[in-house]
Amino acid sequence: MDIIVCLKQVPDTTTVIQIDPSGKEIVRDGITNIVSPYDEYAIEEALNLRDANGDGAVTVLTVGPASAKDALRSGLAMGADSAIHVITDESPLGLDSLATAKLITKALEGKSFDILFMGRQAIDDDAMQMGSLVAELLDIPQITTVIKLEVNGKAVKAHRTIEGGIQVVEAQLPILMTAQKGLNTPRYPSMKGILKAKKKPVEEIQASSMGIDLSPKVIIESMTMPPARPAGRIVGSVDELVKALTEEIKVV
């Protein structure tokens, strides 16, 4: 079973976000980057499926600047077999979702896979579009926000999370799926895995050479910090809190 996992390098969740002077990017200096957490669930599931099947390979793919190589190395250290790096000149927020999806689709041309996996969303732009975009561009079915998965031969049965419940979805390979928290517990790379990762092949493709129009259809005009919250106050008792909720803001 051949599986390709798309992953994205993002700032760590503890990062204090500051807007850079251009107003269209965040300050990237000095921040710690990680593989977007939902992508780690996708990598883990792919490795387990490969190993359960006893054949096939897991390839990790990313679209990003030169520094995104570290994210691919993390995937390789977890156990992926090879990597594809679509190298972009744009800042990470400068490419919109649709242009990125076109780059991924183009990079996959001529590559065969049974499953294309990715996290349900990257935790930087939180757009939650990539799975559906790529599935449509490749004309394959999709199951997003997968929390439980069974693959038997060509048959796929997955649980996807919806508000207050789950949908059970069945389909045939090849398919695109996005991983939801709860699908599995991602492994930490072992020291051996980290050493081996350095020798695994990474195919590099320059995004600018792929013949894709990268001009965004969703353009970031400016960025702002969230509006400051109005000052609150400390209440001295439950009675005062009940009064505030029922008489001041009247939400109860």
Binding site: M130, E136, A171, K181, K217, M223, P226, R233, L241, I249
Partner: protein, 323 residues
């Protein structure tokens, strides 16, 4: 300005997000608002969409549209867009809306803004505000395509009151071209966890518990308060990672980002990744023993107290206040 809104239903009723989208469409100043109603046996819901501001309702009825499927619903929305040629298509940024809207973005080669908090038209193009990094920053974006596609975060648009005197022109959308083989990912069942249980992402009031509650057995304090308030229950990442609460309840950067009218944080200190997910709530109540806890910085009302002591009292007194 011609606007198409994709209505959502649940258990044979329209979801509140459908009315939010209609209110958003009328706030943009449009009088040409079409609501698309997709499903099986849903036509009876059409007049209600008129009461909330739709000038026209397109009904896409088909046996294969009984449950949401990506491909079935993508087909129906594409049919509606082809027949109407709208300037803007609005979706709810719900689980299904987020699955569906990008599929159409790729099919139409049109720009999609997801999870928008605000939407305006500046005279030449649609401009929206959307959160990045779970709300640690906001982006002001414009959409350079027609149609423009936008999914709106639930709960951010206030619903204009219904007017039963308003009626929409109702017609059927031709979806006869839909066949079973076009739906390759088939929904075989839908399981709701707990009858009528509200989801944190769409609830108007959320009551969340954190590690300070010491164990899963103590979340009855959260559930009891939530029940009195008609609220959904939420949880911090620590609590979910410890296995005390289901993943679906997690609020924060690696969980759900919520914007309820009232968010009650109990025994949650306020890690940055949690605060990113809830600080756009209209009002926040924080209950924590540590007066220095970061959660108090965003709280409308803070109560420095032990949740074990004050939650039963708060629950009883709010119950009494509600009558």
């Amino acid at each position: 300005m011609k606007i198409l809104i994709v209505a959502e239903t649940k258990e044979s009723a329209l979801r509140k997000t459908s009315f939010e989208l209609l209110s958003q469409a009328s706030e943009l100043g449009s009088s040409d608002i079409t609501a698309l109603l997709i499903g099986k046996g849903v036509a009876s819901l059409a007049p209600q969409l008129g009461h909330y501001g739709a000038s026209q309702v397109l009904v896409a009825e088909h046996d294969l549209l009984e449950h949401y499927t990506t491909e079935g619903y993508t087909y129906a929305v594409k049919q509606a867009i082809d027949s109407l040629q709208p300037d803007l298509v609005l979706f709810a940024a719900s689980a299904n809306g987020k699955d569906l809207a990008p599929r159409l973005s790729a099919r139409l080669d049109a720009g999609l803004v997801s999870d928008a908090l605000e939407l305006k038209h500046d005279g030449s193009k649609f401009v929206a505000v959307r959160p990045l990094f779970a709300g640690k920053a906001y982006a002001n974006v414009s959409i350079a395509s027609s149609p423009a596609l936008v999914s709106m975060r639930p709960n951010v648009v206030s619903v204009k009151p219904a007017d039963a005197s308003r009626s929409a022109e109702v017609s059927n959308l031709d979806v006869s071209g839909l066949s079973a083989d076009m739906i390759r990912a088939k929904v075989t069942s839908v399981e709701q966890s707990g009858a009528g249980k509200l989801d944190v992402a769409e609830a108007d009031i959320v009551v969340s518990g954190g590690r300070g509650l010491k164990g899963p057995e103590n979340f009855n304090l959260i559930e009891n308060l939530a029940e009195v308030l008609g609220a959904a229950t939420g949880a911090s990442r620590a609590v979910v990672d410890a296995g005390w609460r289901p993943h679906g309840e997690q609020v924060g950067q690696t969980g759900k980002t919520v914007s309820p009218t009232l968010y009650v944080a109990c025994a949650i200190s306020g890690a940055m990744q949690h605060m990113a997910g809830m600080s756009s709530s209209k009002y926040i109540v924080a209950i924590n023993t540590d007066a220095e806890a970061p959660i108090f910085k965003v709280a409308t009302y803070g109560l420095v107290a032990d949740a074990f002591e004050v939650l039963p009292e708060l629950t009883e007194k709010l119950k009494a206040a509600k009558g």
